[in-house]
């Protein structure tokens, strides 16, 4: 099963659904160690992305020629212009860099890994955070490591996305005891320990949606449907 632009679109739509469902949870996490807007920010951004996907005039790429990168670039520019905050430029850059390495109609497992690596590289280069600083980087890095291993072992696209999503989920949970040294939570010093990083959680949701979109397969009639 190859991952194509339709998969990318399903991924994005599922991400929007997952974020909408988790909006309250993300906001509550951010309320505890940040400023309580992460759920709202991400939801505003992904609702705008879906609105563009639904708008015949704003379609990414050109018909059948549409590449995975076309879809991801639309996500990047939309998030940059609607999210704001720290997560807007960070996710925006992640999708932009991911789009640059996926300018093809279909991507295979090594290309999926490249997409994740590019996203991580985008977040890191904009935010200057490294692993262990209690940010979304922790989730992206764990996903990349797991995906690289799975691809090296000859795993399928679904295998790669599955381990990536699982690793991101675990890594997000693993931010709980950390003391933040980047982002707004760093202002709390030691008091940031004991709470999960909202950006790491949203990254886990993004990657979970990628897997679900792959599992739903190209024949899924309802792009908004459940996995």
């Amino acid at each position: 099963m190859a991952l194509d632009a339709d998969w990318a679109e399903r991924w994005v739509r599922r991400t929007a659904d997952a974020i909408a469902d988790a909006k309250g949870e993300l906001t509550e996490l951010d309320r505890q160690i940040g400023d309580g807007d992460h759920g709202e920010n991400m939801d505003r951004g992904f609702r705008a992305v879906v609105a563009r996907l639904d708008d015949p005039a704003a379609q990414p790429g050109a018909g059948d020629e549409r590449t995975v990168g076309d879809v991801l670039k639309l996500v990047a520019t939309t998030l940059m212009s609607t999210v704001g905050g720290a997560s807007g430029p960070l996710y925006g850059t992640a999708y932009l860099r991911a789009a640059k390495v996926s300018g093809r109609p279909q991507i295979d497992p090594p290309a999926v890994v490249a997409v994740l690596e590019a996203a991580l590289e985008g977040v890191s280069s904009r935010g200057k955070a490294t692993v262990g600083e209690k940010t979304m980087v922790d989730a992206w890095q764990a996903a990349v490591d797991a995906a690289e291993a799975a691809a090296r072992d000859g795993g399928s696209e679904v295998d790669v996305l599955r381990v990536a999503a699982e690793a991101a989920d675990k890594a997000s949970t693993a931010t709980i005891p950390m003391v933040a040294t980047k982002g707004r939570a760093s202002y709390l010093g030691e008091r940031s320990a004991g709470h999960e990083d909202p950006g790491a959680r949203s990254t886990a949701l993004v990657l979970g949606a990628a897997l679900a979109a792959a599992l739903a397969g190209p024949t899924s009639a309802d792009p908004h449907g459940a996995a």
Partner: protein, 331 residues
């Protein structure tokens, strides 16, 4: 949560619409993308000043657009940095051909979004310089943190840099003046009760009936530590001492003392804090030659205050005194 708002999603737009009507002689408000600029646009030959950040800190920044201060302000969603597609046109609107200084409060989101916008504006041929305000001593400034936050000291940076621009200084000079203010201004704040972000609907942090948060920022983040509520004199000491220490103030110094309300504390209480802070400074031999007391950099209806001290020299004092005509600061 009760607020004088309609749909929380429209809070910023509704408020700006009213602001535009109330101050039509001072500002014009663009709605798509959202930014505020001086009525009449950039002043030819004058360095333009642009600031911005999340909403919820009113009158910052839009209330400081006008003669002698900002040329444009870019409000994001509540407590959320604006996006580059808002900031870039604001920069262009502020440009009078002599370049633009962006004044950015040091938050990851503001820094990243302004960075991108500046790149875009430069690509359109505008000369842009930027300064980062980071006056909050509650946050440690080290290689291993996001650095100190920009809080109430921003008013001093905008006022003084604005005056420098108004008297015709070039971009490098205006930037240098802004940086001198930043190097000499420090703030520390306290919260007695948390603000409620409209779309969240519950207080940003939970405080006990006799607890206060010391070292808070202006986004409803919890502070550095929580202590038992004490009297205003003691609270003021907790705020003033780290500020004065960080500036290493001593007998020779002359300062601006600025007591800023967080939005939900009566003005009368701010004067109590001011009185105590002033006596503490005078005990150190410091001369308070300029003062500001009021709600200028708020955090919605948060109860609390911050104490800001700016070390003055003759030039900074003269620039502070220079005329200003904005919705929120005028002399």
């Amino acid at each position: 949560m009760k607020k004088l708002l309609n749909d929380p999603a429209d809070a910023v737009a509704d408020s700006l619409a009213g602001f535009a009507l109330a101050h039509a002689e001072l500002v014009q408000v663009s709605t798509s993308p959202v930014f505020v600029s001086r009525a009449g646009g950039g002043v030819t030959g004058k360095v333009g000043l642009v600031s911005g950040g999340g909403s919820g800190h009113e009158p910052l920044h839009a209330g400081f657009v006008g003669d002698g201060m900002l040329d444009a302000a870019v409000p994001g969603a509540v407590f959320t940095s604006p996006t580059p597609d808002q900031i870039q046109p604001a920069i262009q609107a502020a440009d009078g051909g002599a370049g633009v200084l962006t004044i950015v409060k040091n938050y990851t989101g503001d820094v990243l979004n302004f960075e991108t916008a500046v790149e875009l504006a430069e690509a359109e041929g505008v000369e842009v310089a930027s300064v980062l305000v980071n006056d909050d001593v509650a946050v440690e400034d080290s290689l291993y943190t996001a650095g100190r936050r920009g809080v109430a000291g921003t008013v001093a940076v905008e006022k003084i840099a604005g005056a420098a621009a108004a008297r015709g200084a070039d971009l490098a000079t205006v930037k240098a003046v802004a940086e001198r203010v930043i190097a000499n201004v420090r703030t520390m704040g306290v919260a007695l009760a948390a603000p409620t972000v409209p779309h969240v609907g519950r207080p940003s942090f939970d405080l006990g009936e006799d607890e206060i948060e010391v070292g808070i920022g202006i986004h409803g983040e919890p502070g550095r530590h929580r202590v038992q509520a004490v009297g205003a004199d003691q609270v003021t000491e907790m705020l003033l001492t780290p500020v004065a220490d960080d500036l290493a103030l001593d007998g020779g110094d002359r300062v601006l003392l600025f007591v800023n309300g967080m939005g939900g504390t009566p003005l009368s209480e701010l004067y109590v804090v001011y009185g105590r802070a002033r006596r503490l400074l005078e005990e150190r031999g410091v001369t308070v030659s300029r003062s500001l007391v009021g709600n200028y950099v708020t955090s919605l209806e948060m109860q609390g205050a911050s104490v800001t001290v700016l070390r003055l020299d003759d030039e900074l004092e003269a620039l502070w005194d220079a005329p200003v005509d904005t919705a929120a600061l005028r002399w």
